[in-house]
Symmetry: C2
Subunit: 442 residues, 2 copies
């Protein structure tokens, strides 16, 4: 096996971020499932990355059935791992999962000096310290933003953004399947069996969901988070994991009585010189960030001695979100200038008009007949459609506030209508217009 000492990864990405590599990093993807395909798609769809990252190989078992027409013809498809490694890739992206045989392939890649980007929390939980050590001795890196929290940039946020703090606790909802099951039970008062059946049908749970609901998946992610937050390796076997299988509809009734709901929580906290960790169902306040986290989303809170609590949330899984984390790691390897690095530039921005939005219009008037008709006419004159008219009781006639909501419209048209409306003599106060944000998504 070659142990070449050439160092394709930019050695100057820190303080000299502007000095990018001379040639694009040659990237081989191991595994063309949802994540691997999404990584390839981002590399293909973002032409501005071409100078820095070049996809050269895609490895998959039974690769013939995987070939996708949108992948450039220059990419080699193979089911032979030795062919991939013999091509001397600069970076191996490992998105297959599992400890064997993948761990051996990752070691071979690191041994020949390739960088590795992986989403494989099970491998990191089992062999993280050894792989980090091997990478160090070969002068290369293993990066794993994608291993925890899918597209939530936890590793960068915790490891670098909170480096100035002394962290004391990391806790999160790290498994989307369990959270989907528990948050649906909380709403529907169903028992677990029918919810789990539905989750399988809808693709939120695998045929055998044991790793998700018994806590092994969240446990492996917690090992990675503990490594990042505390630089300590907790063995997965040191983390008590309790299944959510015992949770019944009755438990949600009682939890509600206590102002709580039930979630699968993964948590590690510093205790003196040691660390205590666990994964399993727990009561959390309904109004906490855990209690409010619904569906397959992930949320992680970090507590530090100085900074208090910070929270991160987002899509915990899914091909595109996880692929973003992989590509972020690839760009870090390629010497992407970092925030504030030498070479960071802010070019002048072109100012665009506001997109069409629904608006909330509040008027305070001296009440009289015909006011609503007058306002509606001015809005119609600009092609703006009314959505609702609201008038609450209990206000004085001489300063009566009422509200009109309008469908999405251009801000310029709205301003023109409001100028016309403002000329009337029935106003007790100037009209107020507020954009309504995301009401269609809530």
């Amino acid at each position: 096996m070659s142990t070449t000492s050439r160092s394709p990864v930019d050695q100057s990405q820190g303080a000299k971020g502007a000095a990018v590599t001379r040639h694009p990093l040659r990237v081989a993807i191991l595994g063309f499932g949802t994540v691997g395909a999404s990584v390839a798609r981002i590399l293909v769809e973002r032409p501005e990355l071409a100078g820095r990252l070049e996809l050269t190989h895609i490895f998959n078992r039974d690769v013939a059935r995987k070939r996708a027409a949108w992948v450039p013809a220059s990419v080699q498809w193979t089911e032979d791992i030795s062919e991939v490694l013999a091509s001397k890739p600069d970076v191996v992206v490992e998105v297959i999962g599992g400890v064997d045989p993948v761990g051996g392939w990752v070691r071979r890649a690191l041994e020949q000096g390739a960088a590795v980007v992986t989403a494989n929390k099970m491998l990191l939980a089992a062999q993280g310290p050894a792989l980090l050590h091997l990478a160090a001795t070969r002068g290369t890196q293993i990066r794993f933003e994608a291993a925890v929290g899918g597209g939530v940039p936890l590793i960068h946020g915790v490891r670098e953004g909170l480096a100035g703090d002394v962290l004391t606790r990391v806790a999160g909802i790290l498994n989307g399947t369990s959270n989907y099951v528990l948050s649906r039970m909380a709403r529907s008062d169903e028992d677990m069996a029918p919810v789990l059946d539905d989750a399988r049908t809808l693709g939120y749970a695998e045929a055998d969901p044991s790793a998700d609901i018994d806590g092994d998946d969240a446990g492996a992610k917690l090992v990675v988070l503990a490594g990042i937050a505390f630089r300590r390796h907790l063995q997965l076997s040191d983390i008590p994991r309790r299944s959510i299988r015992q949770i019944s509809a009755a438990d949600f009734r009682y939890a509600r009585k206590l102002g709580c709901t039930i979630r699968q929580i993964a948590m590690v906290e510093a205790q003196g010189t040691g660390f205590h960790a666990f994964v399993g169902p727990a009561l959390v306040p309904t109004q906490s960030s855990f209690g409010r986290n619904e569906g397959a989303n992930n949320v992680v809170t970090i507590v530090g001695k100085y900074g208090g609590e910070s929270s991160f949330s987002g899509a915990g899984a899914g091909g595109p979100a996880t692929a973003v984390a992989v590509v972020s790691d690839l760009l870090a390897l390629a010497g992407q200038p970092r925030a504030g690095d030498v070479g960071e530039e802010w070019l002048p921005a072109i100012v665009a008009p506001a997109p069409a939005r629904p608006y909330y219009l509040r008027f305070v008037v001296q009440d009289a007949p015909g006011i609503l008709a007058s306002i509606a006419t001015s809005l119609a004159g600009q092609g703006i459609n009314l959505d609702a008219v609201l008038q609450e009781p209990g206000f004085a006639k001489e300063a009566l506030p009422f509200v009109i909501t309008v469908e999405a419209c251009e801000e310029a048209a709205l301003q023109a209508a409001l100028r016309e409306i403002g000329e009337a003599d029935f106003h007790a106060e100037l009209p107020l217009a507020l954009p309504m944000l995301w009401t269609d998504e809530s």
Copy 2:
């Protein structure tokens, strides 16, 4: 003025993170207010930083009244900026604020090759591109994790963790004072004037809160976020800012009718080749992350083409939280090994027992007299105090679920009690014990 080309900042922090600087970075702090004092305190209190960061100077006007006994005697206190710069600091931490005269001092520091870490969003909004360019030409850096979102690691998270995505929208609650005022109005149905008076008394608002409630503070932070997310410089004058002063108690009544509440939102979105930004009050769904954000907390959501929505929240201001961001930047300059970098190591963790916690105990029993007494006796035998007993109606007598919550206790004691309780013959199912997390904080 010296334009020395020596490069004290570790040039190899990226791929060769293990190769830290040979001498600690000499750090001068400009401004000894709440943030500056908190930065100094972290540097003093974390002895493990001593090899990498050495506090040498503290600059403040009228410095005599600022001297603190806990600062090491080796630190020079001065009110002469030229004395600070003549000492050739490796890093200047600027936490004074304002554009003049501070901008000139920052330029002088960069010109002589010092790195600058700043929390000054107004300076960055006004002169960000020029300062980034100056830093680049001098082979140094200007870093500003502390300028937006206090202790929330937004800059690292957005700029690096989401580098793999194509970002389309950044929106957030960036001003704690406005959010305190609006979230309190939403709860109390008060008008703004008395709430603002209270906010001043409680220290949540300055004597003149114009910059906060009229949107200049959030606007400057939005300029910085747009630079990070899009690498484009929006002029503050290109961002329409509307005050929250017009919002009345009546508006919250109407917003509630629409399933919404009102928050000061700062938002920038890509529109074709341009960008639209605004700061001002907006209706947001009560159940959205914006609508649920209370008090002085900050929350930011980032939308990407591939990864969907990610969200970051935490303390937006305050000395210690902002100081964490400053120290994180200092460590990045000092060559703190990054996640996955060469030199990253996870040492074996010592496993500690769980801290004492309150627990939820659920029993399913064949109902009979004396069960509760029997369970209570076993718990008392381990010194565990009952908190509440809950029994909901509507369950069958032969499989009756009821709940006992207990005050914080050691897990080992609880397990011993549950073993004893489990020996009784009244159980229809095994007892379930769940930790109750943070119920005292909610």
